[in-house]
Assembly symmetry: C2
Homo-oligomer: 336 residues x 2
Amino acid sequence: MSSGLPRSELSLADWIPSGTRDVLPDEMRELRALTDRLRAVFERAGYGEVYTPALEYESPSAQAEGIAHPEWTGPRHAYRVFDEQGAALALRSDMTIPIARVAATRYRQTEPPLRFCYFAHAYRAVRPQRGQSRELLQAGIELVGAPSPEGTAEVLTVLCDALDAAGLRSYRVGLGDASLYPALLETAGVDGQVRERILGELVAGNYVGLERELDALGLGQEDRSLLLAVARTRGGPEVLEGHSGPLEEAVAGLRTVHSLLHPHAAERIIFDLGLVRNLGYYTGAVFQVYDPAHGVPIGQGGRYDQLLARFGRPMPAAGFALGLERVHIALTGEER
Amino acid sequence: MSSGLPRSELSLADWIPSGTRDVLPDEMRELRALTDRLRAVFERAGYGEVYTPALEYESPSAQAEGIAHPEWTGPRHAYRVFDEQGAALALRSDMTIPIARVAATRYRQTEPPLRFCYFAHAYRAVRPQRGQSRELLQAGIELVGAPSPEGTAEVLTVLCDALDAAGLRSYRVGLGDASLYPALLETAGVDGQVRERILGELVAGNYVGLERELDALGLGQEDRSLLLAVARTRGGPEVLEGHSGPLEEAVAGLRTVHSLLHPHAAERIIFDLGLVRNLGYYTGAVFQVYDPAHGVPIGQGGRYDQLLARFGRPMPAAGFALGLERVHIALTGEER
């Protein structure tokens, strides 16, 4: 020992950064068993596993000289990385964007659809004392070149097959449409920063904040009621009935997707018209996976029909990511 | 597409940093099969898989207030990482140091020996245009609390079992002792910066540079000849015979280790008296894995009997790390 301080005065947290953890053999064995079951489902469905570098350019196109992506809205990297030459890189924050890059650049001559899966860590920002993870082990698929509704239905089916194979019994998939609430706001004449604030409250599930924002707008009673009602509309296929206008158009899409699902997947769906995701690339159907044994979503996904175009090959696409540690916690919770 | 530049003018290298690569499904399937075979060997030998955070403190003890490790000589992190609060972290550069930390802090009450294995990426510095990898997938074991010679023999046996299970037919394990050459230099009265320069030439395999350094010292003819001869001494058990002084002591240890190996492992060993590793924590036996189908070592390891003490629990230890991409290339090369 190189100092006189008794080792017992050190806590484990002194050795590793907040938001990180060691995975010891008992847990690791269970995580491996879980990933093996998921990989078998993905491969059976035709999804080939890929791995992309954890070290990325800060902008996906930073080195693609002459090509600007002013409209780029992917998630900002949480970690900047400097090598000993001072070159600025970033740590991968998800696998969807790099796999879109792979699909667009490495499979240019391949007839779509393209099917990829992954098991990889993503690196996210943490706020102090929130128990958030800097390093998340994710498992997911990306289906590139298959439009809605069939593509969306395939992704949801593989999702439910994977969760069934994992052994989860009580999970539910909340299904909404990322374009639905923005379209309602547009119809009500709400745009700009107010629109972003309202969507932010919705992403955070803060209905008090949402109501405050709507009240401040001085909307007509009908618009206000509709916006408040839709934000909280959740349930079975019956919640898709009796709508009109832009709402009817979005829910019609959800009805079609639902009609294409196998019963074992269809019965897991809870329609959630107020579901909005905070990743800028989602364009249509969006979903979140819940399990009563875990208080936070254990997975999420959706359609990102505009993302591939940013890598030079426009194609519709959809996918999902499961948080493997969360799925594992939910499994353990269900078994109790 | 968001700009008018023809996409064909972009090379793949424009999208990802030098020294990184995408792993596509065909290769990924083979890498998974390889890791499954290695994991089966490790688990059968009692090694439990662990995972430690990719994001570490820059010094393993930076947050352990009041504890200084002035003698710390582990490999310097190649990548500094900043989160959005500006906190300075680093990317894991190997798994040996974090597993030593885990063994010393999470298994304080457990009777040694402790056996751990891992499959994880390590992040290393690259020099431009050398084709080096920033991100290496490594598989390895650490045997903590088992002294030489038995502990060393166990690690070498698991290493050969793993390479056999991987399907490699032509590999060899170069075995030396990290203390051997430094002891010879000490006996010849060589120390300080000159000693470090000489060891540096040896690590680099630069015998011309080594001879130049030795000539500049004006050593006696006997010392000079011995140092030059030992640096190039490689071969079967016969190279361990007929030595005296500090050399005899080190080779006696290697003889004992060799005598404890099962024949299938013993026949793979090539004694290499000039083998020195550039990671500061190696103390005794060191080894490197070669395969004729790949020009660079595909793995390495050794004893690090002083490392655990730096985490407050002195224990002898040894381990190895295989570069999985290199093992895979060697396998593919052998199959041709």
